[in-house]
Amino acid sequence: MTDTLHDGLADDSSSTDDAPVFVTSDLSVYYGAYRAVRNVSIDIRQNEITSFIGPSGCGKTTVLRCFNRMNDLIVGARVDGSILYRGIDLYGADVSAVEVRRHIGMVFQKPNPLPKSIYDNIAFGPRINGVRKRSELDDIVERSLVRAALWDEVKDRVKASALGLSGGQQQRLCIARTIAVEPDVILMDEPCSALDPIATGRIEELMQELKSDYSIVIVTHNMQQAARVSDRTAFFTVEVNPESDRRTGVLVEFDSTKKMFSNPADERTENYVTGRFG
């Protein structure tokens, strides 16, 4: 028997050339007068993992935060160009950033557990979406923690403060919290930078698992990770204007991961992925 609820989605994913989840065209992001990134055009596809790589400060986080309108929270941040999310202009006048974030989840570069119990951290999102039943919440909490490879470590103390967890555990909690609301797209900003190889492996497995239901964008500094998990890779770099000394992030190349790591079109990409950067 097929799950009728997911029939529509399953059909979509079977065809690879359907419309992308995000169509980004000519995106530039400003912090006040400073243009942090310019002219980025990227398509994010359904049921794929897209990775962003590039040197520190090239604007990977900045671009990622545009996809769930997180930059709205920063005073002075401004976006130029357009991002279509399933055909809808994300920055359109009648689009609610709150609604957007309910569909597009995010794991931040630095773990940011809420100063609540582990349980409440994970139940936070479902509660916003109206889940009230205790048993249902219990289920969600356990399932999310298991998927994020944290359950075994915390099952005896889900009511304890999340701030008592180690950095790596906190990051996995943040991942669990994000998948608890079953978003359509998951944005991950260096989710594994604080994790040991075992937890990293578990998260990578999780990403492969999630891929069949969700679309994932991941920022990573770990080239092997990008090569291992992602279907497509975007390489960003920093352009320094020699006159004004302004640093601006640019998208150098965006292609299938295989091509990016074996036979990139741009010399800068090749230098970066082979470790000859800078």
Partner: protein, 293 residues
Amino acid sequence: MTVDGGSGLDLSQRPSSRTRTDRAMTAVMLVCLLAVVVPLAAVVYTLLKNGAGQLSAEFFTADIPTISRIEGPGMGPAIVGTLLITAVAAAMALPLGILGAIYLNESSAGGRLGRLIRFMATVMTGVPSVVMGLFVYVTYTLRFKQNAFGGALALAFLMLPVVIRTTEEMLKLVPDNLREASAALGARRSRTVLTVVLPAALPGVVSGCLLAVARAAGETAPILFVVGAATSVNTNVFREVNTALSAQIFANAQLPFEGAQQRAWGAALTLVLLAFVITLIARVVTARFALKR
């Protein structure tokens, strides 16, 4: 003496001017500490010496003698008055101040109105309490006569800017990444404020607010001319004159009669105890919430 592991490596403390500076600074700080503690201890000692003998169940409940020359207890009306006036003032100033601070820190985002309100609050902090009393006298008391509510108004005006500024400082201390975490899960701003920001800032907000309340409870000037002086308990906030501990201290301490002066000492000690209790509550509440973090 040198510490030598046999490897020629020397990790021992080197004699230097730093050691001397360190000692000197420690001495200076001790002196500063004494300078703070000695007056405080003296105040508490004098209060206890002169006031402790006055305290009794009767002192807390009996009416104030109408003839000041009479010896013996009675500060009940003043205690009731102080509690009433402070409570009503807090009921007005705390919600308003906390909401104002939330607006300033969570909504206005450096807007013009926000800056204006912050500026006004700062200016208001500097207004002397007697001026605030005068303001209430002119705008309220002249029309509605002396009563407890006038005093509560004056105290509320005094508390408000303090509550706004301390609460805003506490909200500022809540790291932005918590707001982001909440927003990324699809929370509206109101929900983020109520379920994430306020709980995180609560210990600081509570203790800041209660300190403002404790300070206001001891205010004398505005009480003196907008509340009046009653000698029997008046629980109606809006009718008839009332009184407060601070006003009774002021009035009784000036009189040449032994009985009145003893009552003034007793009232002073009671007032300090009251402030102490409020501060204690602040501590307990803070500690309770701090445990949860």
